[in-house]
């Protein structure tokens, strides 16, 4: 979509997880429950009362320490989970690159897996076939392209995953701290491709710890602190504030 307009809107969004991972029906809990009758409901607010809007073509960095809620925020945009309160509205096609190589089958080759992965990210049949060549060229796997991916090094797997991630065309591209892979040359290639995507006018939401990369790529940044939106503004300002806060810790 080249025209302007809103593509993402969070209105008063909260996401609560029950921190207890096991159900209260477990036999051992029933037995334990006989001695301690009251049970504490342990809630974890991954996202609390977050509101913001994103225009088409914006490149937005999502900053925050581990566990602050960046991934949950992106999963909410992707629709992989629903909010506990509030409303997440998204317009257009979303390509959620929240992990590399989702759906990879170890016994299948690079083109087969790239096709599976792209399809799971919402790419249609004709488009996936067209993209395949570019993805494989980007991943640069040499003689390994036709070998089952179980024989790949982790770097090669990541490159293949990245090849797909960098070529799925969508109105809104979500990227969750997956850039920290590959050698220096490959990272530069990814960065160049991200710049290209930005210049094509795609909307990018980009969770990262690489502040330099955020500064370079993004026009705006959201700082998430303990699930709440601490700061929202021009990328350079937010990164400065975030960096200062990190140094003071």
């Amino acid at each position: 979509m080249s025209e302007g307009g809103l593509v993402v809107r969070f209105s008063g969004v909260s996401k609560v997880y029950r921190r207890k991972h096991f159900p209260s029906f477990l036999l051992r809990e029933l037995v334990a429950g006989l001695s301690t009758p009251e049970r504490v409901v342990d809630q974890h607010w991954a996202i609390r009362e977050v509101s913001f809007e994103i225009q088409a073509g914006e490149t937005v960095a999502i900053l925050g320490v581990n566990g602050s809620g960046k991934s949950t925020l992106l999963r909410l945009v992707a629709g992989a989970t629903h909010p506990s309160a509030g409303r997440v509205s998204v317009r257009g096609r979303v390509a959620p690159v929240l992990a590399l190589g989702v759906g990879f089958e170890p016994d299948m080759t690079a083109p087969e897996n790239a096709y599976i992965n792209a399809s799971l990210l919402g790419v249609g049949r004709e488009e996936a076939e067209l993209l395949l060549e570019r993805i494989l060229a980007f991943a640069d796997l040499g003689d390994f392209a036709d070998v089952p991916v179980r024989h790949y090094s982790s770097g090669m797997l990541a490159r293949l995953g990245f090849g797909v991630a960098m070529h799925v065309s969508a109105d809104v591209l979500l990227i969750d701290e997956v850039l920290a892979v590959g050698d220096g040359a490959f990272q530069n290639k990814c960065l160049a491709r991200m710049r290209e995507l930005r210049d094509e006018g795609r909307t990018l939401l980009f969770a990262t710890h690489e502040l330099g990369m955020a500064r370079e790529l993004c026009s705006r940044a959201l700082w998430i602190k303990n699930g709440e939106l601490a700061l929202d503004g021009p990328c350079a300002d937010v990164v400065d504030a975030y960096q200062t806060a990190l140094e003071m810790r």
Binding site: M1, Y17, H21, P23, F25, R75, L76, A78, G79, A80, T81, H82, P83, S84, A85, G86, R87, V88, S89, V90, R91, G92, R93, V94, P96, L98, A99, V102, G103, E105, P106, D107, M108, E112, Y115, I116, S119, L120, L121, G122, G124, R125, P148, D171, D176
Partner: protein, 288 residues
């Protein structure tokens, strides 16, 4: 209207597409069909991927779904033909018609029970709804069943008199659809429960052992009389296999009571599974 211009709203109560937030069941079904059709390509790729990946690194590959029921058939033909002689004509054919649907159900159910956990990445990190993983897993076993059914073909040479070609064969696809509906329902039930209680796999394995013997697979349905025969009507596997046997072995339409019972019980299982999934789809997304 293209998807590019439509707003999707995620709310605590589910997804609303555009302004369509009518709370009726009809609107909900329409949204489901819309969502499923926009994920149809992902479903196809996932299904074929599962199917191909299963056989990729095997020496005999696709011969396995054919060999498995055949080996069981040979063992049982010896046991029930020589050790405990039975009076059923063309017993190996009779057995295969029960074993092939049985293999589908048992494999789809055991494999499907853990599908949310095995494919957690798809559920947690993509926009593909979790039920696509269920449908794809069951469908990959439908493809297996197609190959397993081919293993019946050589039996035509040995027992030509057992096979009856008739118009009733046209009903066979309906029976297969009901069988798949049953498989989907059972997998939805066990897969959702398995997200919270990881012991469901054991329950399914035990249930399959019981179900194998209470279902007329190695013995004919008519062997049971009175109450147990009526109880058989509640077992969708029993009535579905009976339908297949009547259609193929007798070249006749299955009795309406049997076909009706098969349809009602299979669809009841599917609807229960779908309702359980609908109630707990949020738990599935957050707890896998």
């Amino acid at each position: 209207m293209t998807s590019a211009s439509v707003w999707r709203h995620r709310t605590p109560r589910g997804t609303i597409v555009g302004d369509d937030d009518a709370p009726s069941t009809q609107a909900e079904l329409r949204r489901f069909v819309e969502e499923l059709s926009s994920n149809l390509h992902a479903l196809e790729v996932f299904t074929l991927g599962r199917f191909r990946a299963t056989y990729r690194a095997q020496a005999l590959g696709l011969l396995w779904p054919m060999a498995n029921p055949t080996i069981l058939m040979i063992v049982m033909s010896v046991v029930f033909g020589v050790v405990f002689p039975s009076s059923i004509p063309a017993y190996p054919v009779f057995l295969m018609l029960g074993l092939v649907p049985w293999h589908f159900l048992s494999h789809a159910w055991t494999d499907g029970t853990t599908c949310f956990l095995h494919h957690a990445e798809i559920i947690k990190r993509t926009s593909v709804p979790a039920y696509v993983v269920v449908i794809g897993t069951v469908f990959s076993h439908v493809l297996n069943m197609g190959f397993a059914a081919l293993s019946i073909v050589p039996l035509i040479a040995f027992y030509p008199e057992a096979f009856h070609v008739s118009a009733a064969l046209l009903l066979l696809p309906v029976v297969v659809v009901l069988l798949v509906a049953l498989g989907l329902g059972l997998v939805l039930l066990s897969a959702v429960l398995n997200v919270v209680y990881r012991d469901v796999g054991y329950v399914v394995n035990s249930a399959l052992v019981v179900l194998f013997w209470v279902t007329p697979i190695v013995y004919p349905m008519g062997k049971l009389a009175g109450l147990s025969h009526k109880a058989m009507l509640l077992n969708p596997m029993a009535t579905l296999i009976q339908c297949v046997r009547v259609i193929v072995l007798e070249g006749a339409m299955p009795p309406p009571a049997i076909l009706g019972a098969a349809a009602v019980s299979s669809l009841a299982v599917l609807i229960s599974g779908a309702l359980l999934y609908r109630r707990f789809s949020g738990v599935v997304a957050d707890h896998v």
